[in-house]
Amino acid sequence: MTAIVAQPLQAESNRKIEESKQRMKDSAFDYQPIDDDERGLWLQMDEEERSIKLSKFLVKDPALNEYVRKVLCKTVGELNCQATRIYIMRTPHFNASMAPNGMMIVWTGLLLRSRNEAELASVLGHEFSHFENLHSIQSFRDIRAKTDAMAWISVIAGSAGSLASLGLLGLVFDFSRDMEREADILALDHLVDGGYDPMASSAIWEQLRAEMDATAAERKVRSRKDKNDGFFSTHPNTGDRMEYLRDAASKKDREGKSLGADEYRAALLSWWPRLIDDQIKLNDFGATEFLLGKLADDGWTPELLYARGELYRARGKDDDFQKAVEFYRQSIASGAQFSENWRGLGLSLLRSGVKEEGQAALRDYVTRQPDAPDKAIISMMAGGN
């Protein structure tokens, strides 16, 4: 039954893929470089791209955009880079995607999770590779064809959980896994060409898996790292992925290849407080604690200590406030001058029942930050006027 229903749909899907590939080919080769005439570009744009350009979630910071673009160009080459338009969106999760028309979307959560330039490059390169291989169009047609067949089968068989539909489900994932692997392998070449250490690509996956474990551990639930979320997982088992990436990377010449950790940190510096704030407010203690720890591989900077204080203070369980007090104090002791440290310290002391010291710290905050949006309430809580 499965085979009989799936075949005609597969043939149709393949035909459509060929059509799309031809169209894609034409537009990619004829693509004009972006010019400065915004109006001209605007008029050419798809509605979809216009909405992205108008989206309030779009991060417009020119310096950050320039940096991400630079990393992409280094990885896939100038010519390929010219065919891409990058859009950074303010979303605190790990994701990057690329559309068949050359539009690449990068989420700020990815920028927070990359520890260095090579890791960012590996993700951008991977997405670009899908574009090169026209995977987006292929998968669209294919998943659509297969899931339609599934629904058919469940109506006829009378139950959605029938073995037949499970069988087809497996096929959908296999197809996508092949595509992911293709993109991974192609991306490794890009990385090496860009002068980056190819080990970065398995590293970022390792970190993501570990982060998911950390989330689950704190919530006392099962880790989702190996879960296929119903229909919508398009990834190979990421454990396998780390393996073949590490394996393939080890075969490449790693001599003289860099990670670009310092460059990356410098480029993200001004955005980092906002990104970590977004992350803390996700209420995912495990993941945030894990990420901070990873970022602190080369030492706990005052910013990281402050962030850790905020994280513990936000959770506020058991002795979290006492721990938070320690982190803020350490941050201050390292010479950090940002006023928020005193705010966090004061509030944590108050919640720990240490009233006088807490109020003193809050007064300190108000003195250091006279234009704080919460100055009036903090002053009141500090016991002042």
Binding site: E38, L54, S97, A99, I143, T147, D148, F232
Partner: protein
């Protein structure tokens, strides 16, 4: 990396297709409304009869997709493009036949595009509210029983300045075509006694007095006919949406027949 499923849900991309869960807009509640087309006009509003009312027409908000066999909508970029082209052409024809009283809002870029975009979003919220809470039954607001007083506020006058007009006309269409697969499931469902809906075709047109921002007329239809991707269907759609368009004090063009 999730290849676009999450992005698509957020930004309603037609280009990414790995997701099957792109949400139907707020008008989902119309699923429960059976076959009604309704319109409302503010307090016996008519267009002025002493001069031609200058109406600026905003580019229709067009959404076309396909219902998968499982009943979820899958936006289709190609169809949406086709429909947009067809509807824009149909609209232009309609405008020509109204001897220059109506004209399209020019395609602007930069800050002006941002302003138009923001007001278009506000209009959608206003129109949805008027449609859900007044036009159709099931979700009516008691305070609106004798009132039809939705507005975008006097700031809408900026749109009038930008487009050179006194009124703004907005269109919205949403079509999720029952696919062959979906229709087949529907047929099977009927045989075994299970109700399966196929296809969703919703649209509305609204007129705003740009000086005050008040919504003076709205027409909504939750079972629209025709295929908006071709010229015939698009013309029919525009014509349906403009049914009962306010006349101007006695004279003025009546909307064409269905």
């Amino acid at each position: 990396m999730c290849r676009g499923s999450y992005v698509m849900k957020h930004f309603g991309f037609g280009l990414f297709a790995a997701t099957l869960l792109v949400a139907v807009p707020a008008q989902a509640q119309f699923f429960f409304e059976m076959g009604a087309e309704k319109s409302a006009t503010k307090d016996g509003f008519v267009l002025p009869d002493d001069r031609a009312a200058r109406v600026i027409v905003f580019r229709p908000d067009v959404n076309v997709g396909e219902q998968t066999t499982g009943g979820l909508n899958e936006p289709n970029a190609d169809w949406t493009k086709e429909a947009r082209t067809a509807l824009n052409a149909a609209l232009e024809n309609e405008l020509k036949s109204r001897s220059g009283e109506m004209k399209l809002m020019p395609d602007l870029a930069g800050e002006e595009a941002v302003l138009i975009d923001e007001y278009t979003r506000l209009f959608k919220a206003v129109a949805n509210a008027a449609i859900s809470h007044k036009l159709f039954s099931g979700d009516r607001l008691p305070t609106k029983k004798d009132a039809f007083d939705w507005t975008m506020g006097p700031g809408a006058a900026k749109l009038g300045d930008l487009g050179g007009g006194d009124y703004g006309l907005f269109f919205y269409t949403y079509d999720s075509y029952g696919s062959v697969g979906r229709k087949a499931v529907q047929a099977v469902g009927l045989l075994i006694g299970v109700g399966v809906s196929s296809g969703v075709h919703i649209g509305y047109a609204g007129l705003v007095d740009l000086k005050t921002g008040e919504l003076v007329w709205i027409n909504a239809d939750v079972k629209m006919g025709g295929d908006v991707r071709d010229s015939e269907g698009a013309e029919k759609r525009i014509s349906q949406l403009l049914e009962d368009f306010p006349s101007s004090g006695g004279r003025g063009k009546k909307v064409g027949a269905k």
